[in-house]
Each structure stands twice: as structure tokens, then as C-alpha cells.
């Protein structure tokens, strides 16, 4: 949660203007005319049903589109002043990191520390600097004592943290996570979320998270952006977006508390504030 500057004052880190992208073997664009600005230090939650274009949008921001996935690309995406379509992945990967859903398939090396070093090796970082950056990243993610472990000796949560350490070693300003908790159990998911919150708070890293389990992320998200059919359809403060009845129609898994708030509003029962947690709602209901 960014606390010091108001949205208007923030530096714009990500600027997406009129972005449309169609995969070569597809008739319809996966992303249609999307415009979005993300300020430095923000935590943005991206939601929408399967096929709405969120995964495509993420890949347009980190550069996989168009560098790895060429196609019909219109509009522009800039991160930290760099135009994504015109900047090579070697530079982009030092500004934007991408963490994937399956912890298993993003760890390549046979030990944690060598995997964390992977990106740095590709950037020809000299050994001494590499060592200190790897140690730093492992410390931040709490995997230092797992440094020599092999991936198959790690739990899912540990794998996810290792992958995140590998991304952090590149010192990005923006980290994108594509459904990072969907294969984790709820407690481990909560740990990953608190990790995100800490990195955001302590290091000012900007986050974009695609997630179905909204209730996990809402407490730390500054913004909720909803996509449907490739377009951006809702964008605002999570409380407000969830209070808007349209959100359920877009196939977003609205948490029960938010659904209850909407249902009560329909009945004419207005709560003073849109609650983000059951405890908040209970407080308000008790006060009525």
C-alpha cells in the first residue's frame, strides 16, 4: 500500500496506451484498446474470468509480447520510460519481473542459489557482484538456509519464494505475478501475499497481481482493475469496484463479504464504509 503520495503525485511507472494485441492464429484480439497508468509503488490487482485477456496483458508489460510472441500489436506500452516493444528482454528483465503460476516450471537449476543467480548469469554480471545480489535476494525472501537445496526437496511455498528471489535478484522496479497462489494452500498463499506487502512497503516495488482469490489481495491492493473480453471494464479503489454490482457479471470471484455488501445495499441497508474483511463488516453491523 503506497502511503506517502496521493495517486496524482506519483511517478507513472507503467503507461499503457490504446494497446491491442491479436495472436497470429486467432480471429479476435486478446487485448482490445486497453489504456492504463500505474504509479510507482502501487499494488494493482487484475481480475476477470478465464479468457478475459489478463494473462496476455501481463505479457505485454514484461515484454514476452511482442518479443517472444509476435502478433498483431497496436498501441504502446512503456515501463520506466522504456518502450517495451522496442527494448530487448535483456534490459526489460531488469525493470520488470514476471512470476508464474506453477512454482515448478520456473526453477531451472539444480540448487536454489544457482537458480536465483540464473538471470544474473544471463546478464554477464561478474561473479562477486552476482554473489552479493544472490545472497541479498535469498535473504529478502527468507530462503538463505535453503541455498544448496535441490528443487525437488522444496515445498511449493519454498519454490514460489525461490522463484521470487530469482526475480528480485534482477532488481526490477515492477513485479508482475500471474496467479501466484492458485496452486498453493490458503495458509501458504497468505504467506506469499504478506511477502508481496513487505517488498512493496520496504522497497517500494510496484506490483501487478492477477488473482482469482481476491480476498487475499484486497487488504494490500491500491487498485482493482477488471477485464472482460479483452477490454478494461472497471478500474478503481478495490472497495468501490467491489461495491459496484456489475463486478459479478464479469465473472470475477467476488468474496462473500463484498457480495453481502452489495446484496444489503440493494435492500436499502447502507453501511457507512465498504468493508474489506468480515471483521470490518461485523463492526459496522454491530454499530447499526
Amino acid at each position: 500500500m503506497s502511503t506517502t503520495t496521493s495517486p496524482g503525485e506519483k511517478n507513472i511507472l507503467v503507461s499503457i496506451e490504446g494497446l491491442s494485441f491479436r495472436y497470429p492464429d486467432s480471429q479476435r484480439p486478446a487485448v482490445k484498446d486497453v489504456s492504463l497508468e500505474i504509479g510507482e509503488g502501487e499494488v494493482v490487482l487484475l481480475a476477470g474470468q478465464s479468457g478475459c485477456g489478463k494473462s496476455t496483458l501481463l505479457r505485454c508489460v514484461n515484454g514476452l509480447i511482442p518479443h517472444m510472441y509476435p502478433g498483431d500489436y497496436r498501441g504502446s506500452v512503456s515501463v520506466g520510460g522504456l518502450k517495451v516493444a522496442e527494448t530487448p528482454m535483456s534490459m526489460l528483465s531488469q525493470r520488470v519481473g514476471l512470476l508464474f503460476q506453477n512454482p515448478e516450471n520456473q526453477i531451472f537449476m539444480f540448487s536454489v542459489e544457482r537458480d536465483v543467480a540464473f538471470g544474473l548469469q544471463n546478464l554477464s554480471v561478474p561473479r562477486e557482484e552476482m554473489r552479493s545480489r544472490v545472497d541479498e535476494a535469498m535473504r529478502l525472501l527468507g530462503v538463505s538456509d535453503l541455498a544448496l537445496r535441490a528443487p525437488h526437496e522444496l515445498s511449493d511455498g519454498q519454490k514460489q519464494r525461490t522463484a521470487l528471489a530469482g526475480v528480485m535478484a534482477m532488481r526490477p522496479r515492477l513485479i508482475i505475478l500471474d496467479e501466484p497462489t492458485s496452486l498453493l494452500d490458503p495458509k501458504t498463499a497468505l504467506e506469499v501475499v504478506s511477502l508481496i506487502e513487505r517488498l512493496n512497503r520496504e522497497l517500494g516495488i510496484t506490483f501487478i497481481v492477477v488473482e482469482h482469490r481476491l480476498e487475499l489481495l484486497i487488504p494490500i491492493a491500491d487498485r482493482l482493475v477488471v477485464m472482460d473480453g479483452g477490454s478494461k471494464v472497471m478500474d478503481g479503489v478495490p472497495r468501490d469496484v467491489l461495491a459496484d454490482a456489475r463486478v459479478e457479471a464479469y465473472g470475477v470471484s467476488v468474496p462473500p463479504i463484498s457480495r453481502l455488501y452489495n446484496a444489503l445495499s440493494k435492500e436499502g441497508v447502507r453501511l457507512p464504509k465498504v468493508p474489506e474483511t468480515p471483521e470490518e463488516m461485523a463492526e459496522e453491523l454491530n454499530g447499526l
Partner: protein
């Protein structure tokens, strides 16, 4: 299965042998390998085998390697029988089976003590192309994962009434299709995800990536290289009766 493969899977152990530079370990294993082939008498091969097992003990991996040797003993017996059948004589048959055991154990000593990361370093040092090295390391890294996949696929198909044990050879081979196709499909999907993750971490930006660890020969490495080469040369000369020792 475990007994056979156990001797070729790396196990993290602290031992004098493991401390050596991986290239030196490779050299020692190669020396044993070559000596096993050159040794022309049963006693010579037996000595080589003994030497290998001694090194295995120093590497604190005697049990693992011993198990694999014992298991390969079955193949050795097979070789023995085949040789006898072809009328090559009892002594030759014994020689060949022992030689087989020595070859297996010399390779085993190398692989048990060398991690895939060190294998990667050796390959880089040998100037193997970056992509080949990466493909190799990734393949090894995913062996346990693919095996797990295979078991889960078998479970899913067994739960749909598929029976592996029954039927003719033809039927049993056909029954592998519901296992192989998902396995292949999963591997393809996995490769796609890996490719995305690799790209996202700048893979391919340079033909010469740096690395976290380097290899540096220490005094003990040099000592072992020199010592082992001397011993191997002496052994070779002895084998070919170019020099005789009062033994």
C-alpha cells in the same frame, strides 16, 4: 530400479573425494575406466575393482556404489554365461564379467560424487554450446518431476479401469498410449512455461553467461592428478609387461 539407478544419482556428501575439483574426479574415473579395459588378467581387473571401491569408500559412498555393483552383478552373470556359451573359456568369461563390474563402478563413482551443477561447469569448460548445456541441466533437474507426473498419470488411468498387467504383448504396448500421450503433452506444456520463464530472466542475452561458482585447481587437485597419472602409468606398464615388479 532404485538399486540400479542409485549408483548414478548424485548424493550430497562431504568427503575428501568430493572436495576435489570436478575435472579431477572426471580424470580419476576415466583412468579407472581405461585401466578396466586394459587389464588383461583376472587379478589385474580385480585390483582395479578394489581400487575403485577404495575410492568409493573415501568418497563415503561405498554403500550406494556397492549396491549398484551388486545389482549389476546380475548382468555380469549374464555376460559370464554368454561368454561360456560362445566357448570362450571359463577364465575369459570371468575376466569379462569382472571388467563389466569395474566399468560400471568407475562410471558410478563419478556420477555419485558430481552434482548436475558441476557437470554443467565441466561442460562449459569443455566449451559445449550454452544451449546444449542448459538443455542437459534442465533435463536432469526435471527427471524427478517427470517421474512424478508419470506416476500420477498412471494412477489416473488405472482409476479409469486401465490394467497394465493383463493381456498380450500387443495389448500391453497399446496400454502405454494413455500414459505416453499425457506425458508428452505435459512435457510440451512444461517446455512452453519454462521458455517463458527463461525469456523473462534474459536467457540468451549473451553467448557467454557468467557463473556463480568457478573451478580452481588447488594443491590437492594437482597432487591427485599427478599421483593418479603416475599410478595409472605404472599400472599400464605393468599390465603390458614392459616393467615387471616383484609382486
Amino acid at each position: 530400479m532404485f538399486w540400479l539407478t542409485g549408483g548414478f544419482v548424485f548424493k550430497r556428501v562431504v568427503s575428501p573425494f568430493n572436495k576435489l575439483d570436478p575435472r579431477v574426479r572426471l580424470l580419476v574415473a576415466l583412468e579407472f575406466f581405461v585401466l578396466s579395459l586394459l587389464a588383461s588378467t583376472i587379478s589385474a581387473v580385480a585390483l582395479v575393482l578394489l581400487a575403485i571401491l577404495l575410492v568409493a569408500a573415501v568418497a563415503k559412498s561405498l554403500r550406494r556404489i556397492g549396491r549398484t555393483v551388486a545389482f549389476s552383478g546380475l548382468f555380469a552373470v549374464f555376460i559370464f554365461a554368454v561368454n561360456l556359451l560362445f566357448g570362450l573359456g571359463l577364465l575369459v568369461a570371468i575376466l569379462y564379467s569382472f571388467r563389466f563390474l569395474a566399468i560400471v563402478s568407475s562410471t558410478s563413482v563419478f556420477f555419485v560424487t558430481t552434482s548436475p551443477d558441476e557437470l554443467e561447469q565441466i561442460m562449459k569448460w569443455m566449451r559445449v554450446p550454452r544451449d546444449v548445456v542448459f538443455a542437459f541441466v534442465t533435463a536432469v533437474r526435471f527427471i524427478p518431476v517427470v517421474m512424478l507426473d508419470a506416476f500420477q498419470i498412471m494412477d489416473a488411468q488405472k482409476s479409469r479401469g486401465l490394467e497394465f498387467e493383463k493381456g498380450s504383448i500387443v495389448r500391453r504396448v497399446r496400454n502405454l498410449i494413455p500414459i505416453l500421450i499425457p506425458l508428452v503433452v505435459n512435457s510440451v506444456i512444461r517446455s512452453g512455461e519454462l521458455a517463458e520463464a527463461m525469456e523473462s530472466r534474459a536467457y540468451g542475452s549473451t553467448p557467454k553467461p557468467t557463473s556463480l561458482y568457478g573451478m580452481r585447481l588447488m594443491w590437492y587437485d594437482v597432487a591427485v592428478v599427478v599421483g593418479s597419472l603416475l599410478l595409472s602409468s605404472a599400472a599400464t606398464l605393468y599390465i603390458y609387461h614392459l616393467v615387471s615388479f616383484q609382486v
